[in-house]
Amino acid sequence: MKRIVVPGELITDKNVKTGENVFIKGNCIYSSVLGILNESDDFVNVVPLNGPYTPIVNDAIVCIIKNVTNNGYIIDINSHSDCFLPKSLVTKELSAGQMLLARVKEVDGADVAELDNINILPLANIIAVPSVKVPRIIGKNNSMLNVLKKYTQSNIIVGRNGWIWCTSKNLALLENAINMIVNNSQKSNLTNTVEEYLKRNS
């Protein structure tokens, strides 16, 4: 049975391997966020239910140019700090407001990220969700994403940073479905329920 833990809550006093979002004090392991506890015999971690995006190397992210400087671009990556992209990395002259799909190449401490594999995205809608919900929006083997694409006739690129680039025949329905996933991400059997909902409304 999955269980929700709050920040500071004792998870175990056993000596087990730890994953993300836990901290160790003395001989005990505590949760550091509000999230779902993932516990097995020799491993614990907590999957957060909300939270800021922290860039990790190899993340594919959707980002937006915020400002243009002499030698590069300031890029909003929906994280706690902005990113700098040198002009030498892109072939075309870009302007503020341009959307990009990029890969996180390097992360300097907890602070600044570097990008590469820049793809320029055409202007379209962006739906923002908490980055921790992204795995649910994609689903196992893209199952959820395929359902969303099929019933709303959409073209969707999900950035790991929680920004979803999309063009859709039925944007309102897509937004509703994504909201549904975000608000119920802790529950099971979500893909089927979303599929039924989309079937009924498309």
Binding site: K2, I4, V6, P7, G8, E9, L10, N21, F23, Y30, S32, V33, L34, G35, P48, L49, N50, G51, P52, T54, H80, S81, D82, G109, A110, D111, P130, V132, M180, N184, Q186, K187, N189, L190, T193, V194
Partner: protein, 235 residues
């Protein structure tokens, strides 16, 4: 401690009713609406995000910008909308208290904005505000060592009591001690008191406050867990 009833019918170590709603503000990363007796508080948390102006940045941690404000209509005589010394001091010490809970060292050079608005005041607003702010921070998914559970305790009419309301606070011998504990570690992160008390009573009031904070902590935990029901209809 005796179980004498107070003017509002509460026992000496009984809290006023507290109700908590989370995620009330969709524009904020985390938010909390809290009713504590006749106190009404809204708290929002945003960030961490880049800090401006840049010279305010701290290379070792996120800065918590805690803003405690009282609505003009929250007290019996209209309060000036300009934040006074009291508001600023409460903002400062409450910000420090929250810093002890949030793992600010994970987000250097950034700011976490915490805004608390008191809509209706009936004594103990700073502790209600801090309790709500800590919930909003947890709701925003910020990494934290624990929750901040705040409560006031003190003395009125010669009795040591928990959670003073305005009536208790206006008695001639009133002592009001605002406390906030980092829970479950039970460490004090905020402690303010004025009034004249002997040492023994001081220790007793602190113990009373800790017991109250434990009750507040259980309510906070319950509210956070209940925001995400594990089963039930998906809508």
């Amino acid at each position: 401690m005796s179980q004498n009833k107070r003017p509002d019918g509460r026992a000496t170590s009984q809290l006023r009713p507290i109700s908590i709603r989370l995620g009330v503000n969709k524009n904020a990363d985390g938010s909390c609406f809290l009713e504590w007796g006749k106190n009404t508080v809204v708290a929002t948390v945003n960030g961490p995000r880049p800090i401006f102006p840049k010279h305010l940045a701290d290379q070792t941690k996120a800065v918590i910008d805690y803003k405690y404000r009282m609505a003009c209509f929250s007290v019996s005589e209209r309060k000036s909308p300009v934040p006074g010394k009291r508001d600023k001091e409460i903002s400062l010490v409450s910000g420090h208290a929250l810093e002890a809970a949030v793992m600010v060292e994970q987000f250097p050079n950034t700011v976490i904005d915490v805004n608390v608005l008191i809509l209706s005041a009936d004594a103990g607003t700073r502790v209600a505000a801090l309790t709500a702010a800590s919930l909003a921070a947890a709701d925003a998914g910020l990494p934290m060592r624990g929750l901040v559970s705040a409560v006031a305790a003190g003395r009125a009419n010669g009795e040591l009591i928990l959670d003073l309301n305005k009536e208790d606070e206006d008695t001639p011998d009133a002592v009001d001690m605002a406390t906030a504990f980092l829970m479950p570690q039970r460490e004090l992160v905020l402690l303010q008191m004025d009034g004249c008390v002997n040492k023994k009573d001081c220790s007793k009031i602190l113990e009373t406050a800790l017991k109250g904070a434990e009750v507040v902590y259980e309510l906070q935990k319950k509210a956070l867990v209940e925001k995400y029901p594990m089963d039930g209809e998906i809508q």
